[in-house]
Symmetry: C2
Subunit: 246 residues, 2 copies
């Protein structure tokens, strides 16, 4: 067919130039749209404007592409969590809460990454680079938990720092995957996921002995305290979020 060159591929030559990157981007878009389960290698090639055989020059198979995405996701995740933590400034509790929000924000804004990282079935130990990236991300939360642990008021029983890190992780993941993901499966809520998580973390911190309705000495304005009865979320229709239709 002599029209090959004129057809769409006109702008680029025979070589794509940056196919690996283009495939990652295409896959990311497809995952955001249909979930990691529904994404196919062939589709990614098509979206990148390339034949179905071309991706094999850059990825052994579909799984390798998927785990590359997960890895990149963990790297960006780490960066965002680290920025939110900001080494505990201005104070540990404030920074800790900010990490929780950053977690949610990531899940909301990067549903494709989040999906590939936590819901695609890619085993974290599939390859060393992926595993290292995921460890670095978790270490931000762990470091934060350790600082928090060192600060808990004496007299209050508290779990090991590692457990606290896992608590914050599961709270954030729970809220994110039930209510904050970008796809259609998420449940409807009578409040924002951020409000929900923030209140949850605040109650948790209070349970650890931190005063949360008044900031630790030396810090003025912070996130609002646990919402009292009657604030957003109450007075709304009593339907179940598991069953809320629209």
């Amino acid at each position: 067919m002599s029209w090959r060159k004129e057809q769409g591929r006109a702008e680029r030559g025979y070589h794509h130039g940056n196919l690996k990157e283009a495939l990652l981007q295409a896959a990311l878009g497809l995952i955001a749209e249909k979930g990691a389960a529904g994404f196919t290698f062939a589709d990614a090639a098509r979206m990148a404007g390339v034949s179905a055989a071309a991706p094999y020059r850059h990825f052994r198979d579909r799984d390798e592409l998927l785990s590359s995405i997960a890895q990149r996701g963990f790297e960006q995740f780490e960066a965002r969590l680290a920025a939110a933590w900001d080494d505990g400034r201005p104070d540990t509790v404030t920074a800790f809460e900010r990490v929780g929000k950053a977690y949610l924000a990531f899940a909301r804004e990067e549903p494709a990454f989040y999906n590939a990282m936590f819901e695609s079935g890619v085993p974290v130990d599939a390859n060393a680079a992926l595993q290292a990236a995921s460890e670095r991300a978790f270490n931000i939360i762990r470091a934060a938990a350790e600082r928090l642990a060192a600060l808990t008021p004496p007299g209050t029983p508290r779990p090991p720092a590692m457990m606290m890190a896992l608590h914050i992780w599961s709270m954030a993941h729970g809220v994110a995957s039930l209510f904050s993901r970008g796809d259609a499966a998420r449940r409807k809520l009578p409040m924002s996921p951020d409000e929900l998580l923030e209140a949850e973390v605040l109650i948790y911190l209070r349970g650890l002995g931190f005063p949360t309705d008044r900031r630790p000495a030396g810090h003025s304005a912070g996130p609002p305290p646990v919402p009292p009865e009657g604030s957003s979320g109450s007075g709304l229709p009593p339907g179940s979020p598991w069953g809320k239709p629209k």
Copy 2:
């Protein structure tokens, strides 16, 4: 082929007798094995020992089968949560914690149902029966949260009961989906998911003003208090559970 009758289908006649049920069971097994994403209609037929066309007599399509499973899952889930709640006996806090454990137990023991209900992408509002079933299940948690709310010591700010219900749900779901599912994607933990969730809930309850290291007056033995530093989980290798290989 004249051997048709003698081959495998010998025990049953031309009619299966209970194909609908057999398909549901087959699908459940397949989902447990490969996840809802990897389950196919044809596979379910094969496992039920029936031609690929037979399922169409009982289900419009794959999605209808899947949402039937989700619905049945919510029904069983409700039953287990209700049994755990036991109308708040012997006391609200104890029963509340038992609900959390029942949640985890369900996720662990019925990964296929859990998957279909929460991770398969089946929209809860796909059909009225499914939605009703999921609502009934959530209502157990909501009822428990309401009783808890009515009991919170005065003076402690607390969120609406609905929000408390969502908190317990997301904690349980977070732990379940990260650490307690039956499939290969779950992360390794330096402690049991039950311990993790129990401590999390206890700290949360303490944050609501409940005394958790000593049971409310009138109740003797209960779950252990929040584990102090040094209990299970500490002193273990400092690796990240996101990256823990084996």
